[in-house]
């Protein structure tokens, strides 16, 4: 089971490494999308500081959703997804490995880029640290839920937009607690409660989303 997990995980990372620019696209989208906001709402540092956490979180959400569409699409097209599902390994192991690989390739760069982005938006160092931790806990949730959406919309014509419509409502709790943690720190409160809830959400999603993803893959491949 763990060998199946690492086999799929390492394979996906290797594939991503061979297409480096493609793997970096979500992070680039993230930076570009965030830098549009000051142009839209105005450059006043006070305003930007207030909405910074929300902007960063929403853009991270969109970057994850845009990149997750291709999580199963390529493997579906060349038939390797069917081989994986027929291999006798539990589907949720494959689904977790794919989600973990997606997070490593796209989620982790978002977390790393966040402090830089935060500086552009004039965030305080305490808020920046909170933002990084909240993204560290929250982006895996996005990869897990996004994987489920990718499996549900596998092979459909408008898979990309459809996935966003299906999954965004489900990511709202992560967004609320993730951006809320930074808001709490900004107003002088502890972010411990937000982090606990975000962690609980991560555990719950990690336990259930791969199962649902595996079921969705079976439905799609029938």
């Amino acid at each position: 089971m763990s060998s199946a997990f690492s086999a799929v995980y390492v394979r996906d990372l290797r594939l991503a490494l061979r297409r480096r620019v493609e793997a970096l696209l979500p992070a680039i989208f993230f930076v570009v999308a965030v830098s549009l906001f000051p142009l839209g709402v105005g450059p006043e540092p006070q305003t930007l500081r207030e909405i910074a956490a929300g902007i960063v979180w929403v853009c991270a959400l969109l970057a994850s959703m845009l990149s997750v569409t291709s999580l199963y699409a390529g493997d579906h097209l060349d038939g390797s997804l069917e081989q994986m599902m027929l291999s006798g390994q539990p589907g949720f192991v494959i689904a977790s490995a794919k989600a973990a690989a997606h997070w490593t390739v796209t989620g982790a760069p978002l977390v790393l880029a966040a402090p830089l982005i935060g500086l552009l938006l004039d965030m305080s160092s305490a808020a920046l640290a909170t933002l990084v931790v909240s993204l560290l806990l929250g982006t895996p949730i996005l990869s897990l839920l996004g994987g489920m959406g990718a499996a549900l919309t596998l092979g459909l014509r408008s898979a990309g937009v459809l996935l966003i419509l299906l999954i965004l409502p489900l990511t709202i709790p992560a967004l609320i607690f993730g951006a809320g943690a930074v808001g709490a720190v900004d107003s002088g409160l502890s972010s411990a409660g937000h982090f606990s809830l975000l962690g609980a959400l991560l555990i719950l999603t990690a336990l259930t989303a791969p199962m649902a993803t595996a079921l969705a893959l079976r439905i799609a491949l029938e």
Binding site: P169, P173, G180
Partner: protein, 251 residues
């Protein structure tokens, strides 16, 4: 002793079609009768509210619509799950038939809420926990409808829709809780929707009548839509051909 009722008889689309056809005139008639009675009691008999004046009367549409929006989602998830687990075609068709009605009720609740909010709160919309969760419920409905509509293969569409509906139903309490928490942190309880004022008996009667009217409407429209779905899916069967032939003979 009465023979046991065989409910599974109606799992066959052809029999369900006849059952729906037999029930529908009664359901539509009671929808009209209950709506007329409910609106009459609500608009002409119920007293004017001491605080809100006449504007409160939209409650007779708003609150039943909000109730229905939630009940229909649960019913949809239930039938979709049943259809998926037991391969019951009829249950899956019912789930599909429920979705547009549920979305309509959700939209109606939001719309009447906005119309009510303007005179009482002075704004069309506040990011209150209930309003926000209702909006998210609308998104969940739209997601279900969009997913089911984009999958050409009927069986795959039914199953994928069922999975999404179940995931949504599990998530609704989590979303509500998080939105509630977010709301209390952000703006405090500026508007209390929970402190229900004491209601006159006629107000309660009007509300109950409207609730029953919406139930009857939901049953009627869902059964009608289910009939259409049955005809669409069973169009290659003998009984639908016969039905089409007899219909043609009438005209």
């Amino acid at each position: 002793m009465n023979p046991p009722i065989r409910w599974f008889t109606f799992a066959a689309p052809s029999r369900f079609y006849w059952l729906a056809g037999a029930l529908n005139p009664w359901l539509w008639a009671s929808t009209v009768a209950l709506t007329v009675a409910g609106l009459y009691v609500g608009f002409f008999i119920a007293p004017t509210d001491a605080v809100q004046g006449e504007s409160y009367r939209i409650i007779f549409i708003h609150v039943p619509a909000a109730w229905m929006s939630m009940i229909v989602y649960l019913a949809m998830a239930f039938w979709a799950a049943l259809g998926w687990m037991f391969n019951a075609r009829m249950a899956s068709m019912l789930a599909r038939a429920l979705a547009p009605t549920g979305a309509m009720f959700t939209f109606l609740a939001l719309w009447t809420g906005a119309l009510w909010g303007k005179p009482t709160w002075g704004t069309w919309w506040v990011w209150d926990a209930r309003l926000t969760s209702e909006l998210i419920l609308l998104f969940l409905y739209l997601g279900y409808i969009a997913l089911v509509a984009s999958i050409d293969d009927v069986v795959r569409g039914d199953k994928a829709g069922a999975l999404l509906a179940i995931v949504g139903a599990v998530n609704v309490p989590i979303i509500y809780f998080s939105v509630d928490w977010w709301n209390t942190l952000h703006q405090g309880a500026t508007i209390s929707l929970t402190a229900a004022p004491k209601m006159a008996h006629t107000m309660l009667a009007a509300m109950l009548l409207m609730t029953l009217a919406f139930w009857a409407y939901a049953f009627a429209v869902v059964l009608t839509r289910a009939q259409a779905l049955i005809l669409e899916r069973e169009r290659k069967t003998e009984w639908v051909r016969q039905l089409a032939l007899t219909r043609k003979g009438w005209q």
